[in-house]
């Protein structure tokens, strides 16, 4: 790769156009966001920390931050709870069924997020699919309230984000040595023990990679949050939207956006780190 006397510039040259595009359309806007947050008025004439103060010294805003991060974690938990078993079934399936399952897992990723959100309105509504089942089976005298609840939102996010978890998870799962499982079983370990002691540590890197994508996507899913969640569930993206587009208060919107950026990145860093540690540990012992 590094032979034939190619200069360093020629090697990184092909990355230059994209690098420049990133500087102009990615790095510069983010710096602009930071700069705007330090103005005190919405006409951007007075510099000041007023909007930072307004955000940081208000318990309501902190609750919104916490709710947003919790929503992300709940989505991660739900996708793992359902996605991991699906991945296990996939692993044991015949090549034909593996292809079918993979296709099914990926399919939602390619149907628009807005379409998937729309589907959940039809399913979770007061007169929706679930409630018709529940009433029809006599499970409840009253229709359940599913739309405009966090439970409903998490369920819909589970579907919307699950492919993001499955893809990296399946790729790790495809690689690990089936003999390990047989070995574990032949040593008399129950399947549960094998799952938690052998499988989970082995797939931890894939699980972490998927989890952070799910987390990132769920915390920024403005349309799902507002359409399924409704007006009583307030998360950071709604706050960004309200401040930027309805109140036209750009500095405050910038502050909220930066808080979203920083808090989400922090959690993502933790998930990535946990994945690395678990992965390193598993590979260390398995080797």
């Amino acid at each position: 790769m590094n032979g034939s006397g190619v200069s360093g510039f020629a090697r990184i040259g092909p990355a230059l156009p994209l690098g420049l595009a990133y500087l102009a359309f990615f790095v510069a806007p983010l710096f602009m966001l930071l700069a705007v947050s330090f103005f005190a008025d919405d006409r951007l004439t007075v510099v000041g920390l007023d909007n930072w103060r307004k955000f940081l010294f208000d318990a309501f805003h902190w609750k919104v931050v916490a709710d947003t991060l919790l929503l992300g974690l709940k989505a991660v938990f739900a996708t793992v709870l359902l996605g991991l078993p699906l991945a296990l079934v996939w692993r044991g399936a015949s090549p034909f069924w593996q292809r079918v399952l993979l296709f099914v897992a990926v399919m939602p990723l390619l149907t628009s997020v807005v379409v998937r959100t729309f589907a959940w309105i039809v399913i979770l509504g007061r007169e929706g699919v679930v409630n018709q089942l529940v009433l029809g089976l006599g499970l409840s005298p009253e229709p359940l309230r599913l739309l405009q609840t966090e439970f409903g939102l998490v369920v819909s996010l589970t579907q919307i984000e699950m492919p993001l978890l499955l893809l990296p998870l399946l790729s790790v799962m495809a690689r690990f040595d089936p003999n390990l499982l047989d070995a574990s079983a032949s040593l008399g370990a129950s399947p549960w023990r094998t799952l938690f002691r052998v499988v989970v540590p082995l797939v931890a890197p894939g699980l972490a990679a998927g989890a952070l994508l799910v987390f990132a996507s769920a915390t920024t899913a403005f349309i799902s949050q507002s359409v399924i969640g409704g007006g009583r569930l307030v998360y950071l993206p709604a706050l960004v939207w309200q401040q930027a587009m309805i109140n036209a208060n750009w500095p405050f919107a910038a502050v909220v956006a930066i808080v979203l950026l920083v808090s989400v990145s922090a959690v993502i860093a933790v998930i990535a780190y946990a994945g690395r540690v678990a992965g390193g540990h598993a590979h260390g012992t398995a080797a």
Partner: protein, 338 residues
Amino acid sequence: MSFTIGRRAALMGAAALGVARPALAAGSVTAAIYPGAWEEAFREHVAPVLKRQHGIDLEMQGLFAVDQVAKFAASRGAPPFDCFVLDPGPRITAIERGQFERFDANRLANKAQLPDGMADEWGVATGAQVVGIAYNPKKLPRPTGWDDLLKDPWVSKLGLTGFGTTFGTVSLIELAKAFGGSETNVEPVFTELKKVLGKIAAVGAPAAMPGLFQQGQCDIMYTNTQTVTTLKDRGVDIEFVAPRTGAVSFITTLHIAKGSPAVDNAYKYIDAAISQPVQKALSEAPYFFVPVNKGVALNASLPMRSLDEMSRFVTHDWAKINPLRAGWIDRFNREMAK
């Protein structure tokens, strides 16, 4: 070297796409419009007239009045649309902030058909709105007053929206009055809402309310008559009720955005919107807009028989409400949050 290929391919690709690029017609005008019934009505009746008579394409952006004023402010000199459609409150704010071009009603071919006082130096009226309570008669008994909204059995089916729109603001003000508040004191609304918050069926964005009603997510809400008739036309069980203290009414106006690059087209759009055939079409099923054109008789299905009747309706002093409104919007969003 690979760059040359890249660039050539990019140019070719761009050229190929240039053909597919949606061409912007020589003449077009972008108008902000209220989402829902208004957008549908203008698309069906105003856009074709504008296209047929002047070859102008009408682009519409669904925005409520407050959002239009905010969006204009955020655009910093590059107006996001050429025309506003506003209610009294935001209209005053927009005038204060210098968001309108001066309006010359003499440029309207249909000026003579406007009733007196329906045009001024800032814009022209396009219709009157009537706001009251809408409910599902198959699921709920008929409510009689604003205070019924917060009582059983209505409260557990109530769909609530905040101060972000004119219909939301006036309804909540009337609700406050029913509990001892006034135009400038909506405190009772917050106190009373807090007591029943757990029971309320849905809290949504203003634009989401018709959808929530249609899905049966809520069976009673406050809204304007146009929304009620459009939903009814779609087969939804919905009826309009004027509360015993009276329904609310206000005039909706059209304005040209400051710095609009298409002022001439904007006048043609406004002219088309107030013309006799369009106003007549809008005043009929399923929209039932209250017309502002001397050539259109107000028919029996409209919520008012003549514009003189406006005095029988509840109206508000927006000069007093405007300074308080931003605070109300913010407070509502917070207090409704779980």
